[in-house]
């Protein structure tokens, strides 16, 4: 019965769907980490994945840009479509997919290079700029979108690792933006940041949804409530409930969701 209500929901938003996953299973060796998950992720929307740790949020997020391919023991089954195209099709090059589906990690991971080179990394390997002027332009645009331009514009040659934690994370977001992705995946992007830096990144996420589909894994329900329009609740590898964020937090359908958001399981 829950499945029915979900499917009607999906139909309503069908025009706007970015990712649609069908019956996805993920195994790490013998561990069954994701069980039969089907979900539609919308464009120009911030979607939050919440759930107790170990429930498979990161694993599912990583299926969306095939980062799981880099883990030897990981097997993914089922179908995931990006704009109607099967991203696990043998003809799809995961390398190109990852340029289209950018990823920001839990711990800020700037390369030990200059701020400029960090941002220019993606455009360089994908040949997005024909000359230095174009590259400069991409770097500036990305840093502006990453809401960090004002802080770094006069020290683009300084190492990216010398920035503060919050600045590093915004640098990493800008770096992901520089490859002109359509989707941004963020795995607990604020868990290593202090409250002020967190607020800055959340504000940035809110701005990003104008241009991108953003998927964010978070362990903070307040954060999910603040930044997202859609929320998916995972539990033990199952997608228990997926709905408008308001609905999930005010009127959860499943008892497990309710227990989690009221703090009884975690």
């Amino acid at each position: 019965m829950m499945k029915d209500s979900m499917e009607t929901k999906l139909d309503v938003d069908a025009m706007n769907v970015k990712f649609s996953a069908r019956d996805v299973q993920v195994h790490y060796g013998d561990t069954h980490a994701i069980k039969d998950v089907s979900v539609d992720i919308l464009d120009n929307t911030v979607t939050a994945f919440i759930g107790p740790s170990g429930c498979g949020k990161s694993t599912f997020l990583r299926t969306l840009n095939r980062m799981n391919d880099t883990i030897d023991i990981c097997r993914v089954q089922g179908d995931i479509y990006l704009d109607g195209m099967d991203i696990y099709d043998p003809n799809i090059d995961p390398v190109q997919l990852r340029a289209k589906v950018g990823m920001v990690f839990q711990k800020p991971n700037p390369f030990p290079k200059s701020i400029y080179d960090n941002i220019a990394y993606g455009p360089r390997i994908h040949g997005l700029a024909r000359n230095k002027a174009e590259l400069d332009e991409i770097v500036e645009k990305s840093l502006r979108r990453g809401a960090i331009w004002d802080e770094v514009q006069d020290r683009l040659d300084a190492p990216g690792t010398g920035l503060s934690g919050g600045q590093q994370q915004r640098l990493c977001i800008a770096r992901a933006i520089a490859t002109e992705p359509e989707v941004l995946l963020m795995d607990e992007p604020c868990s290593a940041l202090d409250p002020i830096a967190t607020a800055q990144v959340e504000e940035l996420i809110d701005e990003l949804k104008a241009n991108y589909s953003v998927v964010i894994v978070t362990h903070s329900m307040q954060q999910a409530a603040r930044v997202s329009q859609k929320t998916a609740f995972f539990h033990l590898g199952n997608l228990v409930e997926y709905n408008d964020t308001n609905e999930i937090f005010t009127n959860p359908q499943d008892s497990r969701t309710e227990s989690y958001i009221t703090g009884r399981i975690g």
């Binding site: 390398v95 990823m103 990690f105 711990k107 991971n109 390369f111 030990p112 490859t179």
Partner: protein, 458 residues
């Protein structure tokens, strides 16, 4: 007999440990709270006995022989040593010792037999004296340690103090060994420089370390310019690196990033086997396989190839260095955090792009450190070049020519009948000093590189 004092000491330490531990336990069971755990009280006693008494035994054993010799010699009847020089006196002493050991040649004089008997009794007395002293000292220390057992005695701090002292001692041993080496090297080097001017040694381009066999021999004045020798070392080192760096680096990159897990578990132990091959065996390989192969190949191309080429020695040395470089590079690459790999892959980099643009630059300081350490190994490597390189020093950088190296020259200078008062032998020490300075410099440079790289991700 020599083992007995040691056994006694170990016994004392064990007993001291037990006594103190039992005593401490008694205090604890009596209701007082101990400052240190009972095992620390035991350890305190054991260490307090072991360290000083062991030191005493070792010093005693080191000095015993010399002291007894002196006693015996001074106890000889007057006049028997008259007219003997230092060597003659040594000979008498050796004869007395061999009589004492039961080997009698001919019919020795009575005073020698008497001396050898005295030698035996003195030795026996010394042994007993040592045992008695060890027993007394151990007992005294044990009793002292036992009196310290109190509820508030800081036995843990005591033990930690003694152990810290031991560790300091061990590290000081290494430092003093180094200092000792430097001192003895510089002493002989200075003696060399008294005979050959420094400028000739450093800037001379001729290396012909002969000395006149007879006083009146002419045209045999040696030449001691080290430049051709160090040039040979440099040529061979460069060849070795040209072989080792690419092979080592690429195998490390492959094993670290591209090889399937299974292959990795095969390749790594294989490389370790390569690292365990004795250099003599590499020498055989160079002289029996590589050198003839290079020669016949070169001659088929119409090139003039010496039987002992720098190429053969350097190439085989390069193979020897491969596991060294690849293990350093592998460590450096593995030390790059996973988050950087994820970052690059997440931006759509291929594994190759990730390697060249992120991993390799991040690991470069560590890799350079490894290469520099390999350089100093190549410079100091002896066995391969002794077997496969030449003996004649030439100012050439032709890899198909025969060259000699610093280590080869040191070996040849010291082989055979040598006396340590002519420039030929002393030259070996001068070369050794230069080698030491060069490799020390490279090592310091390399270590500072490695250190810098360690700081990179903190």
């Amino acid at each position: 007999m020599t083992a007995f004092p040691f056994l006694l000491l170990i016994l004392a330490a064990v007993v001291g440990y037990a006594i103190n531990r039992v005593a401490a336990r008694g205090i604890r069971d009596g209701g007082s709270r101990l400052h240190s755990m009972t095992s620390y009280h035991g350890m305190y006693s054991a260490l307090l006995v072991l360290v000083p008494v062991l030191t005493f035994i070792l010093v005693w054993l080191a000095l015993q022989g010399a002291v007894i010799d002196r006693l015996i010699m001074s106890g000889l009847p007057d006049g028997v040593l008259d007219g003997l020089d230092g060597g003659g006196i040594q000979l008498v002493l050796a004869e007395i010792k061999s009589i004492a050991g039961g080997q009698v040649f001919g019919t020795p004089e009575d005073w020698k037999i008497a001396a050898s008997e005295r030698l035996l009794t003195t030795r026996e007395r010394a042994d007993w004296l040592l045992i008695a002293l060890v027993a007394v000292m151990s007992l005294a220390l044990m009793i002292f340690a036992r009196t310290r057992v109190k509820a508030d005695f800081r036995a843990r701090q005591g033990v930690e103090g003694i152990v810290t002292g031991l560790m300091i001692f061990c590290s000081v041993v290494a430092i003093f060994t180094t200092i000792g080496i430097i001192v003895s090297l510089s002493y002989e080097t200075l003696r060399f420089l008294e005979r050959v001017p420094l400028s000739e040694f450093l800037f001379g381009t001729n290396w012909e370390p002969q000395i006149p066999l007879r006083e009146d021999q002419i045209a045999a004045e040696g030449a001691f310019g080290w430049l051709p020798v160090i040039l040979g070392t440099i040529v061979i080192t460069v060849i070795a690196l040209v072989v080792a760096v690419p092979i080592g680096l690429f195998s490390a990159i492959y094993v670290n990033e591209f090889a399937p897990k299974k292959l990795r578990t095969i390749i790594k132990p294989l490389l370790e086997i390569l690292a365990g091959v004795p250099t003599v065996v590499y020498g055989f390989f160079a002289i029996l396989v590589v050198a003839p192969a290079i020669r016949s190949f070169g001659q088929s191309l119409g090139l003039d190839v010496a039987p002992n080429t720098a190429l053969a020695a350097g190439g085989v040395m390069g193979i020897m260095l491969v596991p060294f470089i690849s293990s350093f590079a592998d460590d450096a690459l593995s030390a790059v955090p996973q988050s950087l790999r994820d970052g690059a892959l997440g931006l759509g980099a291929t594994r190759g792009e990730m390697m060249t643009t992120v991993l390799f630059p991040a690991a470069l300081p560590g890799i350079v450190g490894g290469v520099l350490l390999a350089v100093s190994r190549a410079i100091g490597e002896t066995m391969i070049v002794v077997m496969a390189a030449g003996l004649i020093a030439r100012m050439t950088i032709n890899p198909l020519d025969s060259v000699t190296t610093v280590t080869v020259q040191i070996v040849t200078l010291l082989i055979g009948d040598t006396s340590f008062d002519n420039p030929k032998t002393l030259a070996a020490f001068a070369l050794g000093t230069m080698l030491f300075i060069v490799t020390l410099g490279i090592n310091i440079f390399a270590l500072s590189f490695v250190r810098k790289y360690r700081e990179a991700y903190d």
